[in-house]
């Protein structure tokens, strides 16, 4: 079976101009939970941002299923290959509901916001008590990350790129969230690429594929 996603080649340098990696390609098959690891500063976040089309990437090509997305189609690409950014950003002054629902009010949205499903997911990540009208900026770091995760799962893109989605989440709850991510990844025509900050979590992730970004290259790791 053909890959779900292929993207690359990507190259990047850090702020001092030192090369992080060159000619890196990412290929993800259907129904896979992929764990991306690498030392701090190796460029994992930059790579995910390049795949998502949020960071400059000269000459990169991006294909999802049989469709290639050119430069003019990056907005539609991002709706289907969606990045959960590292610090779980929120809409300033937005409520919980605004923060979960806003993607469904954007141009490329193809389905309405499902408040029922949102409620269910919030309960599963331990945020069942949250009032939908509460200001999201009052959440703790861990709560924000879980809310970000729920937003990604609700949006249900073909490929979810999750950059440290469980920062600040306690161990028990993190295991629950990890199970949700795995379940999302293993559905048909879906995949998840995930970076986990904590070695313990990464060890317990049970991914289908481990990739490591080291010495400027992206390679499978045992």
């Amino acid at each position: 079976m053909a890959s779900l996603l292929t993207a690359g080649p990507f190259s990047a340098t850090n702020a001092e101009g030192r090369e992080l990696y060159a000619d890196v390609r990412l290929e993800v098959e259907h129904g896979r939970f992929v764990l991306l690891s690498g030392a701090s500063g190796s460029g994992k976040s930059t790579l995910l941002r390049q795949v998502a089309g949020l960071h400059r990437a000269e000459g990169a090509r991006r294909t999802l299923g049989d469709t290639e997305y050119g430069r003019g189609e990056l907005c539609r690409w991002r709706a289907r290959v969606t990045l959960l950014a590292q610090d779980a950003p929120m809409l300033l002054g937005g409520t919980i509901e605004d923060n979960l629902g806003f993607p469904f009010r954007l141009g490329p949205a193809s389905k309405p916001y499902d408040a029922e499903q949102a409620r269910g997911l919030l309960e599963r990540v331990g945020l069942g008590e949250l009032e939908p009208t509460r200001d999201a900026s009052s959440l703790s770091g861990g709560e924000r990350h879980r809310l970000g995760l729920v937003r990604g799962l609700l949006w249900d893109p073909e490929v979810l790129l999750a950059d440290e989605p469980l920062s600040g989440v306690d161990a028990e709850c993190a295991a629950q969230c990890l199970a949700l991510l795995r379940a999302q990844a293993r559905r048909a025509d879906r995949s998840v690429v995930c970076v986990l900050h904590e070695p313990g979590l990464a060890a317990a992730a049970e991914p289908d594929l481990r990739l490591i970004l080291a010495d400027g290259r992206l390679e499978p790791s045992p």
Partner: protein
């Protein structure tokens, strides 16, 4: 009546006493503003003196090209001044400010002088220069407030903008909120001004017309025209400068190019 009392040089010397009084207050309270006040007073005299001489020359020659040249110089200075007050810059920000200024000035000033007032000849400097002057001066304020707010929004709320992009927002969608907030900021002073005019303040132009002998109702109708034209010029200028900035700092694919922007001062 209706005879204008011209000020003699001696009258202006007396007026200087007023600004000196302000300087003495600064000295007495140790505000440390004397020097800046002196420079500002000097600039007032020199700049207005020059403007008076140039206007006298432009009025006397009565040449359309000369009027056009004066307007061009006014837009250039207004654009430079508008950008000077903004705390962030990007490449070609001066060009964008100038374009916004020139387009809004030309559109609104053109309608006012040619359609509403019906100036004859069309370039009559006695009308064209002061009306455009007011438009550009106010558009300058609106444009700089709007641009400052717009660039600040992009710089300080980057993560939020990228959040929207990550879920597929287009450039128009991601710029919608910063643009609206910025244009709103640019327009608030004129809206406040319109609400207070006649009750709290008598605007300079109306006061001037009355001093020069116009009937109050003539002065009032001009002032109404002026307030409306300023509102239009500021709205158009603010929208244009924010749109132009948005195009420079957000790519057609929505990717933010904030590395093109830097903070000054």
């Amino acid at each position: 009546m209706s005879q204008v009392i011209a000020l003699t040089p001696w009258d202006l010397v007396l007026a200087t006493g007023l600004v000196v009084a302000a300087g003495l207050i600064s000295l007495a309270l140790r505000l440390g503003l004397e020097k800046r006040l002196a420079i500002a007073a000097l600039r007032t005299v020199v700049q207005l003196g020059l403007a008076g001489l140039i206007l006298k020359y432009v009025f006397a020659l009565d040449q359309p090209l000369l009027v056009a040249a004066a307007l061009l110089v006014m837009t250039l200075f207004a654009a430079r001044e508008a950008v000077r007050r903004v705390s962030r810059r990007y490449g070609r920000v001066h060009l964008d400010a100038w374009l916004a200024m020139a387009v809004s000035g030309l559109a609104v000033g053109g309608i006012v002088t040619q359609v509403i007032v019906g100036v004859d000849p069309f370039y009559d400097p006695q009308y064209v220069i002061p009306l455009f002057g007011m438009i550009l001066g106010n558009a300058m304020n609106g444009i700089s407030l709007c641009l400052d707010r717009f660039l600040e929004h992009l710089a300080t709320r980057r993560a939020e903008l990228e959040l929207k992009l990550a879920f597929g927002a287009t450039r128009a969608e991601v710029l919608n909120e910063p643009l609206r907030a910025a244009v709103r900021t640019g327009m608030i002073p004129i809206i406040n001004g319109m609400a207070a005019v006649g009750i709290v303040s008598l605007p300079g132009m109306m006061t001037g017309q009355i001093l020069a002998g116009s009937a109050p109702l003539v002065a009032v109708s001009y002032q109404i025209l002026v307030m409306f034209m300023l509102a239009a010029a500021i709205a158009v200028g603010a929208i244009l400068v924010a749109l132009a900035g948005g195009r420079r700092l957000v790519g057609p694919d929505g990717r933010l190019r904030l590395e093109r922007m830097n903070e000054v001062g």
